[in-house]
């Protein structure tokens, strides 16, 4: 039996993780002891403060990070090698934290719906009953959403940093469980919201079952959960190949579900439509960033030597995802479902990037590795999506948000600014030059081409054209169609939502005109610690 080794905790490197987790726990305590009137302010300040402190920590760690043993990567292995705080991890942490700050501001928005948030006043009160009306007249509000958000952020930070299979599984669950609950907490259209939560939960639990069986099989193959040891086994051990292959397949099911890749995309539109829009905005951006970080680490570090086994699968999934996402998006009549299918198509574009060249040594100077291209694309996608869903929360009618596409007709006349910003986000998603989407697409397509995945790139270009048609259709509806009946109204947001939308638009524009600094930052992130 192995001797017990006392683990050391690298407090400095783990500071962002610890502070987010600590603030989440503190939020639970506030919920238990603070008077109801003080909770909203306390929770929002606590969440924003915690996320800010974590972000400062990320910057400090990144500034101080030193070259790791083998020279290709920078950073440290923390907690006895279970958490890798390396360049890509820090990039993703920073991205998730900025998106979470914006998400918190959307959560805290109370101007749009007459002084209350987008969350149910009392989730336990049945829809349409006296109890629900009473909760709403008393102006009750579930401030538990902030600790839940912080737990989800903690999961999103742990998931891509995990350097062994068990930590990765725990990260996956910590990220998912709060999101299941948040999905079911909408103030309006509660039946839809609860149904979305049920579907998300059952399918999510099903897919994490697959992920876990994959963990067990790969552990059975390699005899260790550590990625480095698995990589060692993949290089040297040719026995039990079937265990490894089935294991990779099952792990992929869990990850593909989380990123919403076809054929595991079925939950995406339902959940995006049913969840409260602030949750959708945060979830669409944050989950994808975290899950792609984890996917890259798992496939590049643990299974990098077995590339020829999983790349054909990834080719097929990427092509399928892009085409399914783009084609089904065209048929949608609800703006949130439409954005959901468009995010499925973006998953496909990101998978195209995952297929690219992994090693810096295989490239000429100035060429991107797949990792850098995907990290950059995640940033462009995250901000555009967050901004787009934030705009969706502004367009309303008497029944709350007007999400039917037909209700958006004539928005350009009603509010040229809101329609203009939304059109800008759509153009960014379509990948029009001078927006971040163009540079992002160029980056992932070129790394995939450099790795010889040209059939996937052709499919990606076709999917881009189909998707562009769809985005243009929405823009046409906003500017050139006559409004049906009264037409949509645009609620006047508080500074919180306005800041979020401005941030999304500014980043999207900046990355389109001046992508250099962020590309440099992605290049500085270097490689994973192997």
């Amino acid at each position: 039996m192995n001797e017990f080794i006392k683990p050391t905790v690298e407090y400095f490197e783990l500071w962002p993780l610890l502070v987010v987790f600590g603030v989440a726990c503190l939020g639970v305590v506030v919920e238990a002891f603070a008077p109801r009137s003080a909770r909203y302010v306390a929770q929002v300040l606590l969440a924003l403060g915690g996320l800010g402190a974590a972000l400062v920590g990320v910057v400090l760690i990144a500034r101080d990070s030193e070259v790791y043993a083998d020279g290709a990567a920078r950073g440290v292995l923390a907690m006895s090698g279970t958490i890798a705080v390396d360049g890509p991890t820090l990039f993703i942490w920073g991205l998730v934290l900025v998106l979470a700050i914006a998400g918190t501001m959307l959560f805290a928005e109370r101007h749009l719906d007459g002084g209350v948030s987008a969350f149910a006043g009392q989730a336990a009160a049945l829809p349409g009953t006296e109890a629900e009306r009473e909760a709403s007249t008393r102006g009750l509000d579930h401030t538990e959403v902030y600790p839940l958000l912080m737990f989800a952020v903690f999961g999103m930070m742990l998931f891509p940093a995990a350097n062994d299979l068990l930590t990765m599984f725990v990260g996956l669950e910590v990220l998912s469980l709060p999101l299941y609950l948040l999905t079911g907490l909408a103030r309006r259209r509660r039946l839809l919201s609860q149904e979305a939560a049920l579907k998300y939960f059952l399918l999510g639990a099903f897919s994490s079952g697959f992920f876990l069986y994959g963990v067990a099989l790969v552990y059975g193959y390699a005899g260790s959960m550590q990625f480095a040891a698995i990589n060692e086994a993949v290089r040297n051990d040719t026995a039990n190949q079937s265990l490894l292959l089935i294991g990779i397949g099952m792990l992929s099911v869990g990850l593909f579900f989380k990123v919403g890749a076809a054929p595991f995309q079925a939950w995406t539109p339902d959940v995006y439509q049913g969840a409260p829009t602030p949750v959708t905005a945060f979830m669409a951006a944050g989950t994808k960033v975290a899950a792609f970080g984890a996917m890259l680490r798992l496939f590049y570090v643990a299974f990098g030597a077995d590339r020829w086994s999983w790349q054909p699968m990834m080719w097929v999934i990427a092509i399928l995802t892009m085409l399914v996402g783009a084609v089904l998006a065209v048929t949608q009549t609800d703006i949130k479902r439409l954005l959901a299918y468009s995010s499925v198509a973006h998953t496909g574009f990101l998978l195209t990037g995952v297929l690219g060249v992994q090693q810096t040594s295989a490239l000429a100077d100035g060429e991107l590795t797949a990792l850098q291209a995907v990290l950059f694309y995640l940033a462009t996608y995250g901000f555009a999506t967050l901004g787009a869903f934030a705009v969706v929360s502004l367009v309303r009618d008497s029944g709350g948000e007007a999400t039917a596409l037909s209700r958006w007709a004539g928005l350009g006349k009603e509010s040229p600014i809101v329609a203009g910003v939304f059109a800008f986000f759509l153009l960014a998603m379509a990948g029009i030059p001078l927006t971040s989407g163009f540079v992002g697409k160029l980056a992932v397509f070129s790394v995939a081409l450099a790795a010889g995945a040209w059939p996937v790139v052709i499919a990606a270009v076709v999917a881009s054209v189909i998707a562009a048609f769809l985005y243009i259709r929405v823009i046409k509806a906003m500017y050139f169609d006559e409004p049906v009946g009264e037409g949509p109204t645009v609620a006047y947001p508080s500074v919180l939502t306005a800041t979020t939308i401005a941030l999304g638009a500014a980043v999207t524009l900046m990355l389109g005109i001046l992508p250099g600094p962020l590309l440099d930052l992605a290049a500085l992130a270097g490689e994973f610690i192997r």
Partner: protein, 98 residues
């Protein structure tokens, strides 16, 4: 001799998987998910025995904790749906489609 346990865990996993896909009551679907997780535990413990290290056994404990947390959240969600609709059938919850 550990092979039999792996086969058993694969059978349990398959039963759980088929159950999720065919049963209509959300509670039963959820029970089948739990069966899948327990099949994973059996596989983890068996492989730990086979490799002679403790990683798998420790993982099994983590899985139990995660499964317990999942029960809390899952039952809360299923209960809200049941109270609203007076039914826990996954076929009845069909407002969101296409």
């Amino acid at each position: 001799m550990t092979n039999e346990y792996i086969v058993l865990s694969a059978i349990l996993f398959t039963i759980g998987c088929v159950g999720v896909l065919t049963r209509r009551n959300a509670i039963v679907v959820f029970m089948c998910v739990e069966l899948m997780l327990n099949a994973c535990n059996l596989a983890l413990v068996t492989f730990a025995k086979q490799h002679g290290n403790l990683d798998g056994q420790i993982a099994a404990f983590f899985v139990m904790v995660v499964a317990a947390a999942e029960v809390v959240i899952g039952l809360a969600i299923i209960m809200t749906i049941f109270r609203t609709r007076r039914s826990a059938s996954v076929d009845d919850a069909s407002l969101l489609k296409y």
